[in-house]
């Protein structure tokens, strides 16, 4: 049994330690918001936070997570109202939606580290996340909008 800290809860997994975290989250813990796209760290669909850092959950074995705190899209904000999520709805980013959990988790980690990103920071920071619907322009727009929202709450 492996003890995992997911979205603030302590959860048990009986998966073999070499199981990619992605599949434990999705199929065992049924946190299906984390998506499988490539399994090789090439697309970013499976992005979650490990101690606040954006990581590709398809590239981490569940046995290696240890005591690190895992955050999935379901746990980013209890009401789904993280500034990045709000900006995503306001700017109407998602099309098919499949890549968007990963995009949002990537963006949220990016902004946690760099609350004042330049356009270049955003574009480069989001470049690892594929979107086949090519919602790219709106992703950049929404990250900028989230920056604004975060400032408003900080100053308000």
């Amino acid at each position: 049994m492996i003890n995992l800290k997911v979205n603030g809860q302590s959860l048990l997994s009986d998966a073999p330690p070499d199981t990619p975290l992605l599949w434990v989250l999705r199929e065992e813990l049924r946190l299906t918001g984390t998506r499988y796209g490539c399994g090789l760290g090439l697309c970013g669909s499976c992005t979650v936070h490990l101690n606040g850092q954006a990581v590709r959950s398809c590239q981490i074995n569940v046995g290696d997570v240890g005591a690190a705190a895992i955050t999935t899209i379901e746990g980013l904000h209890q009401a789904g109202a993280h500034p990045v999520q709000k900006a995503w709805v306001e700017i109407q980013v998602p099309q098919c939606g499949y890549c968007q959990s990963g995009q949002i988790m990537q963006a949220a980690a990016l902004l946690a580290q760099n609350p004042n990103p330049t356009d270049k920071d955003i574009i480069e920071g989001m470049n690892g996340n594929l979107c086949r619907c090519a919602t790219y322009p709106r992703i950049v727009g929404a990250v900028k909008r989230a920056v604004q929202m975060m400032k408003e709450t900080n100053h308000g």
């Binding site: 065992e28 796209g37 709805v89 919602t135 790219y136």
Partner: protein, 820 residues
């Protein structure tokens, strides 16, 4: 979507239940049995009595209106568009609108018709009839409300979910009406349907407004549900071992001794491929998905590679060149004037050969599904698919075959989920057949997910193509044009039924050359452009070998994606030869005369794409009679002049002709995708900078002007245009699928590279609302980008690249050729 919590419940039960929950009253409008042919009417009879079921919407006494969306939700936000159209005429407040996706079954097929989402056709084909359904609902409610208010009909109207009596100023809400009155208003088909007066567009309050898409919030918080997000008790997992060939392999032996040591491994199943689907497929089954993947990789399979086992892309291109030498085997698609006479009579002739590579859909969601054989002997597929109805029909036929039953004995249901990207790549259904076969073999529900690797290996690519073009120019005008196209035709592959139904030629049109040979519109369309060329001929060759070996299929805009690249690149070549500006040259040919006038306002039958005749499939099923629907206006009305207008707008907005930095230029291209009879008019201008030392280029900006008749949701249309234009950019810049020894070579996103954030250009988008019938917006813009980029590269550095994708090496090569 409501259906998530209603597993295995048929539409009728859903309605009964919601009625019980909500106090016994709801409004719905059903299609009367009269609308359907005999068998269909019988099937639909119990379902369409009184007001159940609704095919388009259901309203409950709390005033909530749930729109039933039979189209796949795959990023185009079609549910929101349909809901806007219905809500507008029904006069319900937008805040009370919800969406769901009906279950696909034999019974509901008779009511809803074909659930199939392709061709950017959803709004085009459904707009009229769903607007009328909304209007009839409003009339029924207004009459009932008027009675409740004791008012005169002439004084009553509906707005914002209320019926209002102008005389007394009193009003009653739709919800109250439903609570107090049992509605029993019948409308006749087709007369009432045809005659109901639709709103004047100037009165629109919801159509034309950029309301937020109803499916978006769930896509930001992890709640959105795709096929693989379903869990059923006792479910096992399946992963596909990569078949030896893309198509036609035959499994000879499977050794699973290594797989047996993987904890959780259950068994391997060689899929019955006797209907020509899933050829050479072996699926490993296990208790978890990672175990299934491991096991699939551990299987030692020997296969006969089948008839295409030694075929490679080179061989396909050689086959194309050989065919081109045999004009007697071609079929003519366009035949105007006399090309053979006009060509020598011209002053200047030019010839060019173009080619395009294979590409595939590579949807971010790999194909997946969950299949269950329920205790009542019914079969359930949980899936996000574009081919909801075809999947059910094919699976019914397949199960009948492998279970040795009659199709009529089988109850097959398709539960539709969100589609994580379609682009034409989710209209095949091998995965569902394979999963169902595994369910039969294992006796447990199975969740089947393609690994990215098996997804590439079994993708349904766009065919490679070879084109030969010839033009004759006289007095600075294009007087003669010949376009020869060789490729794999996808139509014959889709006509699986052919093999079961004695070789009918459904999906194929007749050639126009007197041979009346089969010709595949989906492989040739787009070459029938809207320019006035007095002598114009298009001839096509089918490389059947290619179709079957690579499994050629429809990919976003279908044949337009290569034909527009070729036609529009060549138009610039001709303009250059004629010494004309590319914009002026095009405008002169877009005169809207003759055949390019567009079809006069006769229209098409709503909701039933006339090209698909499902009764040709081996399972004959009820089909709504197309003649009884009101006709809608053809998208061709206005013809080439609308395309000219788009071009003028794009050229003006982009500042065509303005001075640009060195090695930077604009290129232009037009498109009328999807088909000649269903055009969306679009002009695109790409500004591109080329690095002459490396041949690398960057698309700086895309200016796009599109005439879609009526913009249902402008903000979403802009998103669709950006997404599809970037799809086009991706195809011209970096996407390439290759084929070797019968198999697709690429395995994952390091080898197949769609566009990413760093390559995204700026956008300037202009929506042109010409007041005509609304047409599709999710695809057409993708077709102008490749040729506009090619033309810009030529204007920037003089390099004409006649192959898609355009690599830096090719640009460099073409530049050197120019200087040599």
């Amino acid at each position: 979507m409501a259906k998530d919590n209603l597993p295995n419940v048929s539409r009728r039960e859903f309605l009964v239940r919601s009625a019980a929950l909500s106090g016994g009253a709801f409004l719905s409008i059903g299609v009367p049995p009269a609308l359907m042919s005999g068998a269909a009417a019988a099937a639909a009879e119990p379902a369409t009595a009184a007001f159940t079921p609704s095919i388009w919407f259901t309203m409950t006494p709390d005033g909530t209106t749930t729109m039933h969306i039979v189209k796949a939700e795959m990023g185009q936000h079609i549910g929101t568009a349909f809901a806007q159209i219905i809500a507008e005429e029904l006069e319900v407040p937008w805040s009370k609108v919800r969406l769901d996706m009906p279950l696909e079954s034999v019974e509901d097929f008779a009511v809803y018709g074909l659930a199939y989402t392709v061709n950017s056709g959803s709004v085009t084909t459904e707009f009229d009839r769903i607007a009328r359904a909304g209007a009839l609902g409003r009339i029924a409610l207004t009459e009932a409300g008027c009675k409740l208010l004791g008012a005169q009909m002439a004084n009553c109207h509906a707005a914002e979910g209320r019926v209002i009596d102008k005389a007394s100023g009193k009003s009653v809400s739709y919800g109250e009406i439903l609570q107090k009155v049992k509605l029993d208003r019948k409308f006749s088909y087709p007369n009432d349907f045809k005659q109901v007066k639709l709103k004047d567009r100037s009165k629109y309050k919801i159509i034309g407004k950029s309301v937020p898409a109803l499916d978006i919030p769930a896509k930001t918080n992890g709640q959105a549900k795709y096929g693989m997000d379903v869990f059923l008790p006792g479910m096992a997992y399946g992963a596909l071992a990569i078949p030896r060939s893309r198509y036609g392999a035959k499994v000879q032996s499977v050794d699973d001794s290594a797989a047996k040591s993987i904890p959780g491994y259950l068994k391997s199943v060689t899929i019955d491929d006797s209907i020509g689907k899933c050829t050479g497929w072996v699926v490993a089954l296990a208790e978890t998905y990672p175990a299934a993947v491991k096991a699939a990789r551990a299987l030692k399979i020997t296969s006969d590679p089948g008839p295409h086992g030694s075929l490679s892309l080179d061989g396909i291109m050689e086959d194309f060149s050989e065919r081109l030498k045999r004009p007697e085997e071609s079929a003519a698609w366009v035949l105007e004037g006399d090309v053979d006479a006009a060509m020598p009579a011209s002053e200047k002739q030019l010839e060019a050969q173009y080619t395009s590579d294979m590409v595939c859909h590579a949807t971010m969601e790999p194909i997946n599904c969950v299949v269950q054989h329920a205790s009542d002997d019914s079969w359930h597929v949980h899936i996000g698919t574009q081919s909801t109805s075809f999947l059910r029909m094919t699976l019914t036929g397949y199960l009948a075959k492998v279970l040795n039953k009659k199709p009529e004995e089988l109850k097959v249901y398709v539960h539709q989920y969100l589609v994580g990207g379609g682009f034409g790549g989710k209209q095949d259904y091998d995965d569902a057949l394979a999963a169902a076969y595994c369910v039969k073999e294992l006796g447990r529900p199975v969740k089947f997910i393609q690994t990215r690797e098996s997804q590439f290996a079994t993708s349904f690519p766009r065919t490679p193509t070879l084109h030969k073009l010839k033009a004759g120019v006289k007095n600075g005008q294009l007087t003669a044009m010949n376009h020869d196209i060789v490729c794999g035709w996808m139509g014959p592959r889709f006509a699986v039924g052919k093999q079961f139904n004695n070789g009918t030629d459904w999906l194929q049109l007749d050639s126009v050359d007197g041979k009346k040979a089969d010709i595949d519109q989906w492989s040739i369309g787009g070459s029938d452009h809207w320019y006035h060329v007095p002598n114009h001929r298009v001839r096509a060759w089918n490389s059947d070998k290619t179709t079957w070996s690579v499994q050629a299929s429809a990919l976003r805009t279908v044949s337009n994606s290569y034909n527009m690249f070729v036609v529009e690149s060549f138009m610039d070549e001709v303009a250059h030869a004629a010494g004309k500006d590319p914009v002026e040259f095009r405008l002169a040919m877009l005169n809207g005369k003759g055949g390019n006038r567009g079809i006069p306002n006769t229209g098409y039958p709503a909701g039933t794409p006339s090209d698909y005749y499902m009764d040709q499939l081996w399972i004959s099923l009820p089909w709504p009679n197309p003649d009884t629907w009101p006709k809608y206006e053809s998208g061709t009305v206005g013809g080439a002049l609308r395309l000219a207008n788009c071009l003028k707008v794009a050229a003006e907005k982009a500042g065509w002709g303005k001075k640009l930095p060195p090695n930077t230029a604009m290129g232009v291209a037009l498109s009328s995708a999807e088909e000649r009879q269903s055009p969306t008019w679009v002009a695109g201008i790409a500004e591109v900078t080329v690095d002459p030392s490396s041949g690398k280029y960057r698309v700086n900006k895309l200016t796009i002007a599109m005439d879609m008749g009526l913009a249902i949701n402008p903000n979403n249309i802009k998103a669709q245009i950006m997404g599809s234009a970037l799809w086009g950019a991706s195809q011209v810049m970096s996407e390439r699928l290759t084929y070797k020894n019968g198999a697709i070579e690429q395995t994952n996103f390091h080898e197949y590279q769609p566009i990413r954030q760093v390559d995204v250009p700026q956008f300037d988008i202009h929506l042109i609302e010409s007041g005509r019938h609304p047409v599709g917006v999710g695809e057409p813009a993708s077709t102008v980008v490749a040729p506009a980029v090619a033309n810009a590269i030529f204007r920037a550095v003089g390099a004409r690249v006649r192959h898609m994708p355009i690599t830096a090496e090719a640009v460099l090569g073409a530049m050197n050729k120019k200087t040599a």
